[in-house]
């Protein structure tokens, strides 16, 4: 009975205030979309990092069967060459620079590739033999990359020495900047959202002062009087969150997976699942902000 009463009060309130309810929905939509976009960007950065990105700085790729680099003229790398590389990595000269050494076999490289690119077309056409063997080296000081790289570049058996981080770092810096800008604007629009909710409450409380006055007089509990206002704001915020989520999922599905993944194929992209993981958080943020700001606005503008 009480529930029905509250629902009808909310319905009346929303209908009376369509303009304000719509503006709350729109501002929430924009702020939560940008918030979600920031999270998505963060997710994209994580997706682009392979297994080794955060762990090592130097990747020494060993010659495979088909390498056509000068140092691989004699075919695949031999065990002797591998032992020599290992010995050098562990030698006293490099001891000051080398922190840890990992070895990755073709099979391990294949397994990791499969995991990272599991949603992409690439992974279906790759074989174990196509994957390179490698030594991965973690440095004590990442800046000293050149010192270590010099020792192994152009050595027979070594196809290439790379600091894979280098290429990606710049891209990641860009993506991180995008994330922070996104969140910066999201913060501003969330602030707008809070103020808008407070203003809506103030307006609604004033418009309904006769009803709330009589409710107080007649002995309705404080919560009962406040609840329709709070729920109205939360419903508007929920609608905004739903639209923002739909927007984010649509962006991921159509633009990222739809267009980007087909034009720039060598990068792993975020997919709809990643976007869906963000969705509940958007709702949480939206509802909490609407709930809290409407409650505080009521304390200020509704005499109980």
């Amino acid at each position: 009975m009480r529930l029905q009463f509250i629902l009808s009060e909310i319905g009346i309130g929303l209908r009376r205030n369509v303009a304000m309810a719509t503006s709350v929905v729109l501002v929430t939509l924009v702020s939560l979309f940008l918030l979600g976009l920031g999270f998505l960007t963060q997710r994209q950065v994580a997706t682009m990092k392979d297994y080794w990105y955060d762990r090592v700085q130097v990747s020494i790729f060993l010659c495979g069967q088909d390498s056509n680099v000068a140092s691989c003229a004699n075919g695949a790398v031999t065990q002797a060459q591998k032992d020599q590389i290992m010995a050098d990595l562990q030698s006293p000269q490099l001891a000051g620079y080398v922190d840890r050494i990992y070895y990755e076999s073709k099979q391990e490289a294949y397994d990791r590739f499969k995991v990272q690119f599991k949603d992409s077309v690439l992974s279906e056409n790759v074989t174990v033999d196509q994957m390179p063997e490698s030594y991965r080296v973690k440095l004590k000081n990442p800046q000293e990359y050149k010192v270590v790289a010099q020792v192994f570049t152009d050595r027979p058996g070594v196809e290439s020495v790379e600091d894979q981080n280098q290429v990606l770092d710049r891209l990641f810096a860009l993506l991180n900047r995008l994330k922070y800008y996104s969140w910066g604007i999201a913060l501003v629009t969330l602030a707008c959202s809070v103020l808008l909710v407070a203003t809506t409450i103030r307006l609604t409380a004033f418009t309904r002062r006769r009803e709330t006055g009589i409710m107080r007089l007649v002995g309705a509990s404080n919560l009962f009087i406040q609840l329709p206002f709070i729920l109205e704001s939360m419903i508007a915020a929920a609608v905004g969150a739903a639209l923002a989520s739909a927007g984010l999922v649509a962006l991921t599905h159509f633009e990222i997976q739809g267009r980007l993944a087909h034009s720039l194929r060598f990068i792993n992209y975020v997919n709809v699942t990643d976007a869906l993981v963000i969705v509940p958080w958007l709702f949480v943020v939206g509802l909490v902000i609407a709930g809290v700001s409407s409650f505080l606005a009521l304390l200020r503008y509704l005499k109980v």
């Binding site: 009975m1 009463f5 006769r210 107080r216 007649v218 509990s221």
Partner: protein
């Protein structure tokens, strides 16, 4: 039922007290007229009973409980035991007579079948049977006040406070309203009515409590309005 113990009320920002050391007791089932000139403190008394205001000094007791000590979530329960009628009726203009009275039951969570049963009963009591679907603006002043009384009484409160209920009404209608309150009083409800209306007070011959400048100057059983000196 209602007790004022040395109650003083000074509104913030003023120096003159609205009520000065008022001691008053209203027992269960009494009918009391609260009379006095404008500004003498009649409305303040009623507001103190409802906990719309807190006394600056002294204690206000309703049904034995110190009203000032009630926590704010218990105040609604206090107000459910008190019905209030105002000079300006205070009806909701967009609701029908039935809905206005039902409102008092809805907001405290009474189920629909109880409302469908109780509201017609109380409308009959106040003499408005058949007018359930009218809107307030379609009723005369007297009828609107009856709706307000119905709303105040529908919950069978133990106390009904009336703040100048006949202020906007003509003499003939006024007497009808006060007779209605008298009928309600006879069901055992305590009535405290603040009023200017000397005719009514003289006719009814109930207990009269007179306030002047915030002080209680007269408390007379079967009293008349006229200023005693």
């Amino acid at each position: 039922m209602i007790r004022f113990e040395n109650v003083t009320k000074i509104y913030p920002g003023t120096s003159r007290p609205a009520l000065r050391d008022v001691t008053l007791e209203v027992t269960k089932g009494e009918f009391v007229f609260l009379v006095g000139a404008s500004g003498s403190g009649k409305s303040t008394c009623l507001r103190l009973v409802l906990k719309e205001e807190k006394p600056s000094q002294g204690i206000v007791r309703v049904a034995g409980k110190d009203v000032a000590r009630l926590s704010s979530w218990k105040v609604p329960h206090l107000r459910r035991t008190i019905g209030v009628v105002f000079q300006d009726f205070r009806l909701l203009p967009n609701k029908t007579v039935f809905e206005n009275v039902a409102f008092a039951l809805q907001v405290i969570g009474k189920p629909r079948h109880a409302i469908a049963h109780t509201v017609p009963e109380v409308l009959d009591l106040v003499g408005l049977a058949g007018k359930e679907r009218r809107f307030p603006h379609e009723l005369s002043g007297g009828e609107q006040q009856r709706v307000a009384i119905a709303r105040a009484f529908v919950n069978r409160p133990s106390i009904v406070l009336a703040d100048e209920p006949t202020g906007n009404l003509d003499p003939a209608t006024s007497i009808g309203i006060v007779r209605l309150l008298d009928r309600i009083n006879r069901t055992g409800t305590t009535i405290l009515m603040a009023t200017h209306d000397d005719d009514i007070v003289d006719q009814m011959r109930k207990r009269v409590v007179e306030l002047e400048d915030g002080q209680l100057v007269r408390d007379q059983d079967r009293g008349v309005y006229g200023y005693a000196r």
